[in-house]
């Protein structure tokens, strides 16, 4: 852009990107601005295909499950009181990987911890070796 505007100098907390990403653009130029009367304009190849709804559906089951998974990973004080091993596991695993496998592995460990019985105790023993 040939702009006289200087990027924000001091502080640096405010992000001032100098160009727009495609996501920014889709959200801006497809449904905003003036519309030429349909009977005046000519049709262009490809435009008909552009029935993109740039807006994300903000609330869906997918969103809910993502949120649930994300809060499941959060380390809060209360975790450290009740589930120290899980927290340790998540600290390690969460930092390295975002895969579901990490959560599953952690979950299994908690089941083992809380499950009771000899089998559980022996498995715990093995893991602590």
């Amino acid at each position: 852009m040939t702009t006289a505007v200087q990027p924000q100098g001091g502080g640096g907390m405010l992000d001032r990107p100098s160009s727009s990403s495609l996501a920014d653009v889709l959200d801006t130029i497809l449904d905003k601005g003036l519309v030429i009367d349909a009977y005046v304009r000519v049709s262009l190849v490809g435009i008909e295909l552009l029935t993109i709804d740039a807006r994300v559906v903000v609330a869906s089951v997918d969103t809910y499950l993502r949120f649930a998974e994300a809060v499941g990973r959060l380390n809060l004080e209360q975790d450290k009181e009740t589930l120290p091993e899980l927290v340790d596991d998540l600290n390690e695993g969460g930092a390295k990987s975002k895969t579901k496998g990490v959560i599953d592995a952690a979950g299994e460990k908690v089941r083992d911890t809380l499950g009771g019985g000899d089998r559980q105790r022996s498995r715990r023993g093995r893991k602590e070796d």
Partner: protein
């Protein structure tokens, strides 16, 4: 068949930004078609050539934003083309000359700035769990149990979190809107486009007031450090403030 692609409407004396190339492959040269006090920013296009590549959309906005940094411009939605320069002059410019000229006069010295604020995920989720003990409990009840057994609970948890985030979004959007209002000719709230959007506010402001606007926002960014990241794009063409009234 050749046609004329139209980007936007400008005052007749507006220079075409030198470094802005248009839509098409290879990118077409942008020129103007004048009529009276106004002009259209245009470039030649083949109707048989496919339009709608990412490059085309980026080019459309780049041309408009480059103009908006110095001169008023009425942006058209992406994908408008007329048969030839004569049609642009008569059917677009002449047909709406006075209303376009009046709108451009109103926009002189002004541009749009788009403020977008995005939550830092773990920070906002931590807030939510601290503020909603019932969600924290539900989360703890789910932890360690199998996915199949907890499917409904996890949906319930996520829905509760989403509702809590939405409430925060509403409050934080209001905070951003209140902050920019003193610097704004007009401000418009955009719908969220992402589940972690904290606020999206388009601001029409005097170009002279840009430093005041970004200064205020920088203070807010400092206050929200670690929980919300704030971005300001602009000057942009006034996309959120120009519409065809039916």
């Amino acid at each position: 068949m050749a046609a004329v692609y139209v980007y936007g409407i400008v005052p007749a004396d507006t220079p075409v930004p030198g470094d802005a190339t248009g839509v098409g492959d290879p990118p077409a040269e942008v020129t103007t078609v004048r009529s009276g006090d106004i002009a259209a920013l245009v470039s030649p296009i083949e109707t048989a050539a496919s339009l709608g590549r990412p490059e085309d959309m980026l080019a459309h906005q780049r041309v408009l934003d480059a103009v908006a940094a110095a001169d008023p411009v009425l942006p058209l939605t992406f994908g408008a083309a007329l048969t030839d320069a004569d049609a642009v002059g008569r059917e677009l410019l002449d047909a709406h000359h006075d209303e376009f000229a009046a709108a451009l006069a109103e926009l002189r010295g002004r541009a749009e700035y788009l403020v977008t604020a995005r939550y830092v995920r773990d920070a906002v989720l931590g807030e939510v769990l601290r503020e909603h003990p019932e969600l924290a409990e539900l989360r703890d009840a789910i932890a360690g149990r199998s996915e199949e057994l907890t499917h409904q609970d996890r949906i319930r948890l996520g829905e509760g979190v989403n509702t809590a985030v939405a409430a925060k979004r509403e409050a934080d959007t209001r905070a951003v809107a209140d902050l920019v209002t003193p610097h704004a000719v007009q401000a418009v709230v955009r719908e969220p486009a992402h589940e972690l959007d904290a606020a999206r506010v388009a601001v029409l402001t005097d170009l002279d007031a840009e430093d005041d606007l970004t200064g205020s926002l920088a203070e807010l960014a400092e206050d929200w450090r670690g929980r919300v990241e704030i971005r300001v794009r602009g000057p942009l063409a006034p996309y959120d403030f120009v519409a065809t009234v039916r």
